[in-house]
């Protein structure tokens, strides 16, 4: 029977195709949580410089920072990616906890402070955002600390993005880690009592400050720098810089090697590339204006060197745990 022969042939073909999966030696698969607008040019440069094809999956605004991370978790037993480029260490740490990533010490990581690396080398931080205060230039309040949120002059004149999402969650979790739960809880309740305006995103917070609807807000450094570049009447304040101060929360990008990925060697090469000074320089001059973590990298005038900032002393692994822990409190706080 001709039919049955072709059936057997088809079955054999399927069997062959499923058993030996071709792994092209000139390909690397990377899942990216950093904004595509900023990350893709870097990946393109890598393609051009090394001749390796980069296949990437990007997050959208909605699934921001968690979509591809969770895809990585779901694919744990069938790893498709070689590298994860996280937009903050917390995500990379989550992968470590779940055994999705594998340690890798990149030669390029030398010169980056240990504070921004996983102690077991499961991920390495680079180019960072900072949580800063954006202040309207015409405002009479000149806050120098986040404590300004609770001051009487800030009553109804300050904004903060919904702490359930994005980098605001990191910030609040950092407060909980450093101050302890009770203190941080009191602080959060105080700023609520002081009539803080909760916005949907950091982007909206910056708009509020620029248009004078509020006097100041905690925002991400990239949004702040962009607004300043556009000539909007805003000032950027690095809060809590006194010697005993809380410091600025630094949120670096983080890159991790995936366990059992299809092209691990190329993955390592990509990580070396991402952690290089050159990549940090590019990301500093891009619209995201990220702060390099290597010293001696050329930077645009709008941003500060990492060594000139008093940073918050916080372990990102602790931060990750705390973020999960305070979810119920944050939901209640945000009224959701």
């Amino acid at each position: 029977m001709r039919n049955s022969i072709s059936f057997v042939v088809a079955l054999a073909l399927i069997a062959i195709l499923t058993s030996c999966r071709p792994t092209s030696s000139r390909t690397v698969v990377v899942y990216v949580s950093e904004d595509q607008v900023f990350s893709e040019p870097i990946l393109k440069d890598f393609e051009r410089d090394t001749g390796t094809t980069v296949k990437s999956v990007f997050d959208t605004e909605e699934s921001k920072s968690t979509g591809v991370m969770n895809r990585l978790i779901a694919e744990k037993d069938n790893a498709q990616a070689d590298v994860y480029w996280a937009n903050e260490p917390v995500r990379a740490d989550a992968l470590k906890q779940r055994g999705v990533s594998t340690p890798y010490v990149s030669p390029s990581a030398e010169g980056i402070a240990d504070q921004f690396k996983d102690p077991d080398h499961y991920w390495t931080g680079f180019s960072a955002r900072a949580r800063l205060l954006l202040v309207n230039a015409r405002s009479t309040i000149k806050p120098a600390s986040v404590m300004a949120y609770t001051g009487p002059s800030a009553k109804g004149r300050a904004a903060i993005a919904n702490p359930l999402f994005g980098t605001t969650t990191d910030y609040v979790a950092a407060l909980f880690t450093i101050w302890g739960d009770d203190h941080a809880r009191t602080f959060m309740n105080d700023i609520k009592k002081n009539g803080v305006k909760m916005t949907t995103s950091n982007g909206e917070s910056t708009d509020f400050v620029a248009t004078g609807q509020v006097d100041f807000s905690l925002v991400d450094s990239d949004d702040a720098v962009n607004l300043k570049k556009q000539g909007k009447p805003v000032e950027i304040v690095y809060p809590d810089q006194d010697p005993n101060g809380l410091g600025v929360l630094i949120l670096p990008n983080a890159v991790a090697l995936i366990k059992g990925g299809p092209h691990t060697e190329n993955g390592k090469r990509l990580i070396d590339y991402l952690l290089s000074k050159e990549t940090e320089r590019k990301l500093a001059f891009a619209d995201c204006a990220q702060i390099p973590l290597h010293s001696g990298v050329e930077i645009p005038p709008e941003i500060r060197r990492i060594e000139d900032i008093k940073t918050m002393r916080v372990s990102y692994a602790d931060l990750a745990r705390k973020m999960e822990e305070i979810q119920p409190f944050l939901k209640e706080w945000a009224g959701q």
Binding site: Q36, F38, D59, D77
Partner: protein, 517 residues
């Protein structure tokens, strides 16, 4: 003599197998996993879902949004459809195609357009857009063409002699009310059910406009925590609503078939001195729903640098989108044609029900199921290639090509097939020598419709495309995070061109069909 299995039976089962593998298997697996917990039956996910404080408000929001959208579409779409079909309004086909534009674009385009309008007019408090009102506005613009076009088709389909008989006894308003509308009712109701289903499953618009609905919860459960069980549990109420809608549709259309054929020339509504008024109303509608948001969206696109960057950033995605959609359209056209052909005498209701259910299932839900089903080392060939996306497109849109094919088959007299059988022709020979040549237009229409639907699809593109293989609507969404407005505008313009060219061809094909041979 022994019974032999006939070729058409084998092909029918193959087609059904494709539908089952592409659509039913992932859905079934999801439902199974949502009640199967660590080796035993458990309704925990559902219990948790219902206990979530957000569930009931979200479900309420979803239903409210869908009802409001269907109502607005009905109030505007039915009269315009009737005018397009039955009046002597000048330029009516122009208006009709113009109003169709939002439907062939990814739904979030209109939302993005309105946000640009808001940004340009300098309204900083954009409460009216970001919320229920904005969602209804955008979704109504997007889904209005469904009601308008189906009303148009059903009303054109009413036997002209009946209307002429009515016209002898009374004026046109009475004829429309007492004859045209009741006879077009099944088509109109079907269109409203469709709008309801599509609106309730819509993800990108409510999430962009920050109106909390159930699909967003389901997507977040999935995207934010890959919690399949919880995501499914959140999706099941949607699937149930979809199912209910399809049941209603089936009940409405019992014993009715669409034949897009009109006998006699029928009613012509003489607009006379109302002509300028009606034209102005339609013009206003087109400006408000289509021209204003889209021109605001595209306004930033007309800069050389933005266009160049867009092409650099998304050139490959454009090509991919076109190729994926073309392949999917070919599969869908073939599948729909075969399914329609094989079920035109028997089993039609079952196939309609099946495919329509898959059409009504939100794309996010289908995607989750597909990923769950195929994400294993054994099936990398499907999981890591565009095959997964093709499966999704096939499941989601085979209803459209099947229905179009069926409508086409009803135009072919049965005796043509019977004569061929008596001439000794096998099924395959009849299919290729009689039905395919006689269905050229049906096939072209089905292909173009499938192409447009696949091209504009967002959830499947976003969730099931392979690494480095994202189609344009997905790429625009990912680039939207902090991308410059001019870049996004240029990308949207490219996308619009890719969709509107086939739409224009479709309009031409349909117009050619309207002229009797």
């Amino acid at each position: 003599m022994g019974r032999t299995v006939r070729a058409e039976t084998i092909v029918l089962w193959l087609c059904l197998a494709v539908v089952a593998i592409a659509g039913l298997a992932p859905i079934a697996l999801m439902v199974f996993e949502s009640v199967w917990h660590n080796g035993h039956f458990s309704l925990n996910h559902y219990r948790e879902l219902i206990l979530t404080a957000r569930f009931w408000p979200l479900l309420g929001n979803s239903i409210r949004l869908a009802l409001a959208t269907a109502t607005v579409c009905g109030l505007i779409g039915v009269p315009t459809g009737i005018f397009f079909a039955k009046s002597d309004l000048p330029l009516r086909s122009g208006f009709m195609w113009l109003l169709t534009v939002p439907f062939v674009l990814p739904p979030y385009f209109i939302a993005l357009g309105w946000s640009r309008v808001v940004a340009r007019t300098g309204v900083t408090t954009s409460d009216w857009l970001f919320g229920f009102g904005g969602c209804v506005l955008v979704l109504s613009s997007v889904f209005l063409p469904i009601v308008t076009l189906l009303t148009f088709a059903s009303a054109s389909n009413v036997d002209g002699r009946l209307e002429e008989a009515g016209r002898l006894a009374s004026g046109w308003p009475a004829v429309v009310r007492r004859i045209t509308l009741p006879l077009s009712a099944p088509g109109i109701l079907f269109s409203l059910v469709l709008v309801f289903l599509l609106a309730i499953g819509e993800l990108s618009v409510p999430s962009f406009l920050r109106y909390p609905v159930l699909p967003v919860l389901s997507f977040t459960q999935f995207a934010a925590s890959y919690n399949f069980g919880a995501a499914t549990a959140a999706a099941v109420p949607l699937a149930a609503l979809a199912f209910l809608g399809v049941l209603i549709e089936a009940a409405l259309l019992q014993n009715r078939v669409y034949t897009f054929r009109s006998i006699g020339c029928g009613l012509v509504i003489p607009l006379d001195r109302w002509k300028p008024f009606v034209a102005a109303m339609l013009g206003l509608l087109s400006v408000a729903l289509v021209i204003l948001p889209l021109s605001a969206l595209f306004a930033d696109a007309f800069s050389l640098t933005a266009m160049r960057e867009a092409l650099q950033r998304a050139g490959a995605s454009v090509v991919r989108s076109v190729i994926y959609s073309a392949i999917a359209a070919t599969i869908l056209m073939t599948l729909g044609f075969l399914l329609g052909h094989l079920t035109r005498d028997r089993g039609q209701r079952l196939v309609n029900f099946l495919t329509l259910s898959l059409f009504a299932i939100p794309g996010t839900v289908l995607s989750i199921g597909l990923i769950r089903l195929w994400n294993s080392p054994m099936t990398w060939l499907i999981y890591t290639t565009p095959a997964l996306l093709m499966l999704g497109y096939t499941a989601q849109y085979c209803a459209v090509t099947t229905r179009l094919s069926l409508a086409g088959f009803f135009l072919i007299p049965k005796t043509l097939d019977e004569a061929a059988r008596l001439s000794g022709a096998s099924w395959a020979r009849r299919l290729f020598r009689i039905f395919v040549p006689l269905s050229t237009r049906t096939l072209i229409c089905a292909w173009l419709a499938a192409y447009i639907l696949c091209l504009r699809d967002v959830p499947l593109a976003l969730m099931t495309a392979p690494p480095g293989g994202d189609p344009l609507p997905a790429r625009i969404l990912t680039l939207m995070a902090n991308g410059a407005p001019s870049l996004i505008a240029s990308l949207c313009l490219i996308m619009a061109i890719a969709s509107l060219v086939p739409l224009a061809i479709l309009a031409r094909v349909i117009r050619a069909q309207a002229i009797p041979a």
